[in-house]
Symmetry: D2
Subunit: 389 residues, 4 copies
């Protein structure tokens, strides 16, 4: 897969810190800690989050790649320290402990990586698995995504996300309205536009919490302002829709992704789902509809990019599930960890981030360049050409 941007994350949930190295951001991009922290906050807000979100206010510590307010072109790296590290040092520290009084986690939780991870990596203490498999890792990806969003902003590409369903409560408000009233979504504790649905979602979360249960949902990610021609049809792994599905499916608890009309399109006729092509001098080529969700042939069309993503309910229940102790092989209740009741609003912010990374990759591939200025010149030159087609 062709790309200038690559990144790796590291870090355990209760370890010292999450670590991110993000390579391929052009030099000369203005970037502040505050910009990234704002995205980290957006990830932590949301009705239905557990206690931990209230304790921790994630902040990034920029280690490299940014100097005096601007990116250097060299790898950007940061830490997101664990604010509760003091309490975990003995359990999660790197040093061997003489007196092995660290209790092992041996009761795998259904729906988590615990059991299989323990087998794969040959652990009897499943904490060794869950600490990395935890969705806390997504904070690292949100931070990386924040940098990419900043880059996209320089090209007037805008990112939106919203909750469209929690449990069976659906918000059917039109996409256009959601974009227009986006401030409303940003303020909603469940990232839902419709007041009435928002209320019902909150009630559902309250009820589910009382029952010791969890609930899933669906969120939508939208990008506006994309140039036509990001991604490519020439090789399977260059298709942008496939790359977006890759990155969205890699988010913990995500179990479905669709683009544009998606699953609904599968029960439609061809005459209903295609976006007819029109042209006028002001807009150039455009579409009379956007059922494709902004992608044709694995490339952006220039229309809004629209993805819908299904999240299963969080696997950690207050009311534990049946499991088996991996040492004694006896039936036990799965270990209970502090957890969220509903993480769909947070997931929508994570979804924005991972898509922003993929789109930034595609922008870097198409426009090349090493400094923001160079990349911008190349971009403007292409956009001028597009208008003249």
């Amino acid at each position: 897969m062709s790309t200038k941007i690559r990144y790796l994350t590291a870090g355990e949930s209760h370890g010292q810190a999450l670590v991110v190295i993000l390579e391929g951001i052009p030099s000369g991009l203005k970037l502040t800690k505050e910009w990234i922290d704002k995205e980290l906050r957006r990830r932590q807000i949301g009705y239905g989050r557990g206690e931990r979100m209230k304790i921790e206010k994630d902040e990034v510590r920029i280690i490299s790649g940014v100097r005096l307010g601007k990116t250097l072109g060299s790898p950007v790296s940061f830490l997101i320290p664990n604010l509760d590290w003091k309490n975990w040092e003995k359990i999660m520290g790197a040093d061997e402990v003489e007196n092995k009084d660290v209790p092992a986690f041996t009761r795998p939780r259904p729906g988590h990586a615990d059991l299989v991870g323990g087998i794969k990596y040959n652990f009897l203490d499943l904490r060794n698995v869950l600490e990395r498999a935890s969705a806390r890792e997504t904070a690292a990806r949100v931070a990386a995504g924040a940098v990419c969003k900043k880059l996209l902003h320089e090209f007037n590409i805008k990112t939106f996300s919203r909750t469209v369903q929690i449990g069976r409560e659906k918000d059917a408000t039109a996409r256009e309205e959601a974009i227009e009233s986006y401030e409303r979504i940003e303020k909603s504790p469940v990232r839902c536009l419709n007041f009435f649905t928002e209320r019902k979602m909150i009630e559902l979360i309250d009820e589910v919490k009382r029952r010791g249960d969890t609930v899933g949902g669906i969120f939508e990610v939208i990008f506006l302002g994309l140039p036509p021609g990001l991604g490519s049809y020439i090789q399977w792994d260059l298709k942008l829709d496939a790359r977006l599905a890759f990155s969205l499916m890699s988010i913990q608890a995500i179990v479905g992704v669709e683009i544009g009309a998606g699953f609904e399109a599968s029960s439609s006729f061809g005459s209903e789902v295609q976006d007819e092509i029109a042209y006028n001098e002001t807009r150039g080529f455009y579409r009379l509809s956007n059922r494709a969700g902004g992608i044709e042939g694995g490339m952006t069309t220039g229309e809004p990019l629209v993805l819908r993503v299904a999240m299963k309910p969080i696997s950690t229940l207050a009311k534990p599930l049946r499991s088996v102790d991996i040492v004694s092989k006896k039936e036990v209740a799965a270990t209970k960890e502090r957890s969220d009741v509903c993480a769909v609003p947070a997931a929508s912010v994570i979804g924005e981030a991972v898509c922003a990374i993929e789109i930034a990759k595609a922008m870097r591939e198409k426009f090349g360049g090493d400094s923001l200025e160079e990349m911008r010149k190349n971009y403007l030159s292409y956009m001028e050409y597009v208008r003249a087609r």
Copy 2:
């Protein structure tokens, strides 16, 4: 993304041939042209396919990597010749033509790569785009997938696929039944298990064809016999579910992917969707259900892997859509090309293939080795360990 297996395809729809290079298959795997051709035939069969499928019977020509019936460990490559090449040589040949009487394709078809591809690559003849963007390229992936399926068979991993929906006609037959009666599916012209639904699907296709329209649907891909622990949670791009979604979404006209309960899970409660863990001496650890579709934490659990994939209706309609001539900028009817009415059954075979490739990759990562014998020893050693956990 970690992998020993990598592959590239090349070739235009009406070019001389499709080309595949597939690297990373261990040495010593028995492989015949017939095995691959059988999969190519499965891709071409199906009610609702256009004329071309009847003309062409794809056959592979193995060029390298296989000697005297066995793989060499070196890159496997093959051609899938275009049987109609004589009629296309003047239009698609590599040589510059003096008398430029090759007519340009200037009427982009909505839903295809035509318009955006022409802009991206700076073409006025959109044939330059559609020839590569065409779904014919999937024949190459089916051939690569056939080799990977052969490898998986050596480890008793079995692949299934079936149509579960065409238009609004759904087959709700249980998965277990589908696997048991798989011969029936292989014989069905729409790859549908239920006789009654099959009939309705065929009627729908007939009707749609009469109307000059097309129709989409949903197919399911299932793998049995996977060892636990393929894929990994340790980095986002190693998660097997994400990699499967990546490869499935890269198939032409695919607009949605879900794993296990998928979108349905998003409207369920946590207590409903988790697969509780049990143990007995014969089976070792197992699950009381398989709502997760065989993946937890981005890794196979050992339970059946189940993916559902949404295909939009083929974009090429007999009844053409509104478009704009890219040269004259006048409104025109989009160019009509010979096409299928419904390609869902074919897509299900393609889906099998691309998933088989991803699973073969994950198998090669986990078990290493260079010869089939070495890979098998490593596999058996792991399976013994798993049983002893």
Copy 3:
């Protein structure tokens, strides 16, 4: 490693054909079979080559990615057929042979992949190894390199190579002279500029041939016209010098690579080896010398790129070496295969090719774009900026 260009080769030495898929060449590049064949010829010419070179005149068969004389942006693929395939079909065919009368190759040749390859891939017939490990594979890389050279030519980047040493016979002619009199080198049967040295090299080859021995040497690869700033210092695997060494060392029988003053620089003082910086309005920044060989900090400086590459003598000797039969474990003479006496002139052409590929990669990374026009606009915009610094 960041790149838009990637390629794979496949094919056995006496198989049907070599296969190449080369992805990432922009659309709109004029390309002919003749251009590629010319490079294939250059690889086959040279004093000291074996019989095979005289039998076979390699020609490429373009399968995809080129239409009516221009690249499509989609993967370029070609075959280089084995002209002697008829005589090898029974021995190298893909089909299982009933009557197993194909003799096994069991006497590994020192200096070749035979012995270790047989162990690694678990073969008792070492032909399975040598057919892929053979230097014949470099024809595929020369073909891929020819396409990249064509791309570089569009940006006025020129490629040169020459033999500077065969055995102990050295040509100390200055680089500048070699470039000026390059036609002379192209006509020399040993690719040597100096007439006197050429004669001595030829005599040496004749003598070595008489003795049933082989001889190695050193060649030089030079690129002129590179823009400053290809490659990067920001991550180890983006450094252009490292990538060039990677690709050169991957050529069969290459055992050493140096850039600029290379090993000689290691015995010099800092005050002797640095290239001082000057500036004038016409040339912009330039250097007062070029001991660095055109690379600083892993990036092109704009000065000539100069690499020197050491080739060991071909391992296949007419006078066979001591070996051990892998089945009987008895001491035997290593199997003798038809072979070259000296392949240094050919290797210099291969060296050009693999470097051209790496430089084309770096050009595509820096200038992005999908069509040659777009890439060129971006290039020109950068070069204008460079001049204005």
Copy 4:
């Protein structure tokens, strides 16, 4: 390129810290901070290093991937803090500074990335370049290499390195002796075995220092205990010798790499340079010599792996070189930074590290597995097979 191991480094020379993420180390490997710190110390020792080495004693801070003394299989990450950060915070901090009193570095140093880097990334302050291009980054690679060396030790693979030349002072002691008396090398301030040569090297360094000059040299890296069959001939970028050259050439100031007899082999005859094959029951197959340096066909033979690497003299001279101010365009003396006189002994330690990483990659590819136990079982099974060939 196939690999389970991948890594990225980040960090500026005078930034807060260097950062490393290293992925693909199996779980269950014992690893301590002390082990890594020891390697960092080895990199900092050496006659001829500048003042900075005396100030700073690099220590690693493990952030993730190691718990209670063992690796988790998840990405290992660490920081190497800049102990002098307090003095650099204002100059190198990420925050925008109101009062722009940070002086710009505008006098590019010949032999460094300064000039080209400034052009490429569009900087007027060349500190933005030199901070990342600096050889300080190699501390990060030494730390990553230390982890890989620990992994290799588990398989009885041992790493050695030594200085064989500084300026024109050569140590011709045999390799075998160097390995036997390795403690002596570890104690030598110039990593030279021969007492007499060591003295001359030290005198040379003293003299060069007095003159305000610098001096280069050649070091050797040796690995013992490698299994046969690491790397592969099947595709150019899988060849282990090429990958080793790639990683060695990526070290700052390295200008040449050779394997085994290297450049010397190029002036030899075939009958002189091949390593004849022998067999006895105890040792299995072995070689009567090791001119190939332990690699044939891009694969380890099982014989000692031997690489020789040329380092040019450090580019930063006390006696500055001619340059041009990039703003005023006037001729100036290049900026002088604190620097080493001779860094060859340090480079040899860095060379060990980067080779250890490549070999660990090749080991992970061949033996797969996720835990050290699983990898070891696969390794032992292969070694048993090798012995039985």
